[in-house]
Symmetry: C2
Subunit: 448 residues, 2 copies
């Protein structure tokens, strides 16, 4: 009898403990979004890294747990606004919607729930801060193009403790070189509210407390492949700095959203070098987040893209190969290459040799390049970069997005919530659940 | 003191039990290979199912656990031979290699290890049985084109208990309408060895014991979209029958390989209807395997593709949408459509209206179709099917394979071995580990 009671006790204890081990939850959340990063982007970056450094493993490879369906409420192919709202609010909405439901009413975000409970919040991006992804965590507007409104809400309402990125122009009035029509200078207003401001790398390094804003460009920051490290920090440097500041004197925890923003822009431009270098810069930021989470033990790191961009494929035209070694010779983004090629007097053949390592241009390619430069053809950048893609045996099918499921990566307490195949909105709900946020209830309280 | 000892005991007990729970291993293995099934194929089939039936979940969605890297030892883009050898032997090898190492020496397979231990083995495919994927589990040849040799080894050496599929031609001499040069009739030899033979659906249904061979066509079985259910069974029917026969009077267990073979062929042909219907037929077979494993409790089911085919994307040309509703109107594979269109007197415009629901052909499309038919242009089938893909907003970049990581799905005891991102060879090694097979040692014993 005693034995039987003891064994029952043991069984109960064991099942409780196994459950507890599997289901502990985090204090901090680092949500990382590689914008426009499809399944082929993961293979591409790993193969490129292997070809250039010999290393077989990305940080992203260490914690892959599933994938996510990305469609929007009004299309099987999402945009970044609906894609980000799925994660910030845990709902499906229409393309263009920034943290509003299909009926246009605001939905409470992870950030709003975090502030309600006294946690700190922050965004680290390389686009304009008012771009769709960060906007969906820090504002509510019916159309993503309303960037004046987004900027106003980000400074007036969101209460974000940390904002690092490009794109100050919607914070500054037209008269002062910005893009705002209403004459307000939101950066000065933020300063008056107590934000520390940084506008260059030296000021960024000096930031030592929150709240803080660092803005490195009037528009997007540079593509990683073009970046001047004396002028702009890397995404990994911004992520590391953000984690230092958020951790400091902060007993309640934080929610940080880090976006590898321009992976997407390179996809839109069908630019394989821009794409792969921004992915590797993102992967380095992921590594910083993982290192933090491993030290800290109370932090959940989730990486999940909003959608794929470009319809990129490794291999094309019946060839059973692709060539990261050829891609490694490309020294600039297509934006920079096209601008250089269009300069008066530029020699496009010599330029491509110097900047992309291509020495086998066909007569037909040279003729097309030259005639498109002469005609100022809008397609010129695509013509040029498709010549580069062909040498690396990379295909593209669109300058927009595609519907393929994206990979989900999770590490730390709460990881079990992200295993398997999920709707993107369910990933958002799992993020809220991991942090014990009730976004539905909060939406009612705040907006109904 | 007593309390401390008791708590130490509890801790040890708990950690042992949690481990044991996570690490129990299977008696049976069902390895399912959707040939040429990329990440976009999963999204495609789910969206198509949702659009046509309202159901949001594929069988494959229920047990996704990670993804696999597919490159071969001599290329970043694998073929099906090297891809299948990664799973059958747990090694990376060169494109074209059927269960041989890069140096050409044979590598012991899961099937050889299974037979050694008295387990039953079988293959269920819809290609020729001598095609690369089933061949890599049941023969060793340096080049996949050696299908005479493959057939000989399959009947003479492999000891397979169950063979269901298409493609009897390499088992039958030229004189008898087959493809063998050596005059042997391997099917008759198999019969003499004790195999039950089925050559049509009625005989297939009558099969009641092992060993058994069912061959439904001289070459590949039909694409699912073209299949006549009175002539050929579905992949799900073959899988269900195989599991019944393998389970019967079998205390030691089995290893069954089921291939969704022609998903790949449709990818090569850039045929979206062929692709999606073969995926859904595969998913139905996966559901049969999962149902068996759930009842049985001792069976590991793993689904993993060998590679992606076609560079397929859902969305193209800048459109943020794709249309399974349009694809659902397509009633035949491109092979059938092109054959019908090329018949003397056929009206390609009327044919496309009837068989694909396309009523908005442009003048340019009609001119191209008609002139290619008249000229017997080899590209005609691609021209025709790209017109179909365009209506569904589906892109393709190749008639070959691409390098993207493929999804891995696992259910049952041993699932923990497959979580995360793995090399395809490591997936093969994990399959062996789950079954307690030592393929390295067996390779030495058998071949060195």
């Amino acid at each position: 009898m005693l034995l039987r009671i003891a064994s029952l006790f043991l069984l109960a204890f064991w099942s409780l403990q196994c459950n507890a081990q599997a289901q502990s939850l985090p204090k901090n959340l680092i949500l990382m979004i590689p914008d426009g990063f499809g399944p082929a982007s993961l293979t591409m970056a790993r193969d490129f890294q292997q070809a250039t450094t010999g290393k077989m493993q990305l940080a992203l490879d260490e914690f892959l747990v599933g994938n996510a369906r990305t469609y929007a409420s009004n299309s099987r192919v999402t945009d970044s606004a609906a894609g980000a709202t799925a994660y910030s609010c845990g709902i499906k909405t229409y393309n263009g919607a920034i943290a509003v439901a299909p009926d246009g009413t605001p939905c409470a975000t992870l950030f709003e729930a975090a502030k309600k409970r006294g946690l700190k919040t922050g965004v680290v991006v390389t686009t304009r801060i008012t771009h769709a992804t960060p906007a969906a965590f820090s504002s509510h507007v019916p159309r993503r193009a309303n960037e004046d409104d987004i900027a106003t809400q980000q400074i007036e309402n969101s209460g974000m403790d940390l904002i690092f990125g490009g794109g100050g122009k919607y914070f500054i009035p037209k008269e002062a070189g910005g893009a705002r029509a209403d004459g307000r200078n939101l950066l000065l207003e933020a300063k008056r509210k107590g934000y520390a401001l940084a506008g260059n790398l030296a000021e960024f390094h000096q930031l030592s407390k929150l709240p803080a804003i660092a803005v490195f460009a009037p528009d997007h920051m540079a593509y990683e492949v073009d970046r001047d490290p004396t002028k702009e920090p890397s995404l990994a440097e911004m992520t590391e700095k953000a984690l230092q500041l958020l951790q400091k004197n902060n007993p309640k925890g934080f929610v940080l959203m880090v976006e590898g923003s321009r992976i997407d822009h390179a996809g839109h431009a069908n630019d394989p070098a821009g794409h792969v270098h921004d992915i590797l810069a993102y992967d380095a930021a992921v590594r910083k987040a993982l290192e933090f989470a491993r030290r800290d033990g109370q932090t959940l790191v989730v990486s999940v893209a909003d959608h794929e961009t470009g319809g990129m494929t490794l291999g094309r035209d019946g060839v059973y190969q692709w060539k990261p070694e050829a891609l490694a010779k490309v020294k600039n983004s297509v934006d920079t290459l096209a601008a250089l090629a269009k300069k008066p007097g530029a020699d496009v053949v010599a330029l491509l040799k110097e900047k992309t390592g291509i020495t086998d241009l066909t007569e037909e390619e040279i003729t097309t390049l030259k005639s498109e430069i002469a005609a100022a053809a809008p397609r010129f950048a695509f013509t040029l970069i498709h010549i580069v893609s062909k040498r690396s045996i990379i295909g593209w099918t669109t300058d927009g997005h595609s519907a393929v499921d994206v990979t989900v990566h999770a590490y730390g307490p709460g990881t079990y919530l992200f295993r398997g195949n999920h709707e993107n909105a369910a990933v958002g709900q799992a993020l809220a659940k991991a942090m014990r946020f009730d976004l539905k209830a909060l939406t009612k309280t705040m907006f109904k």
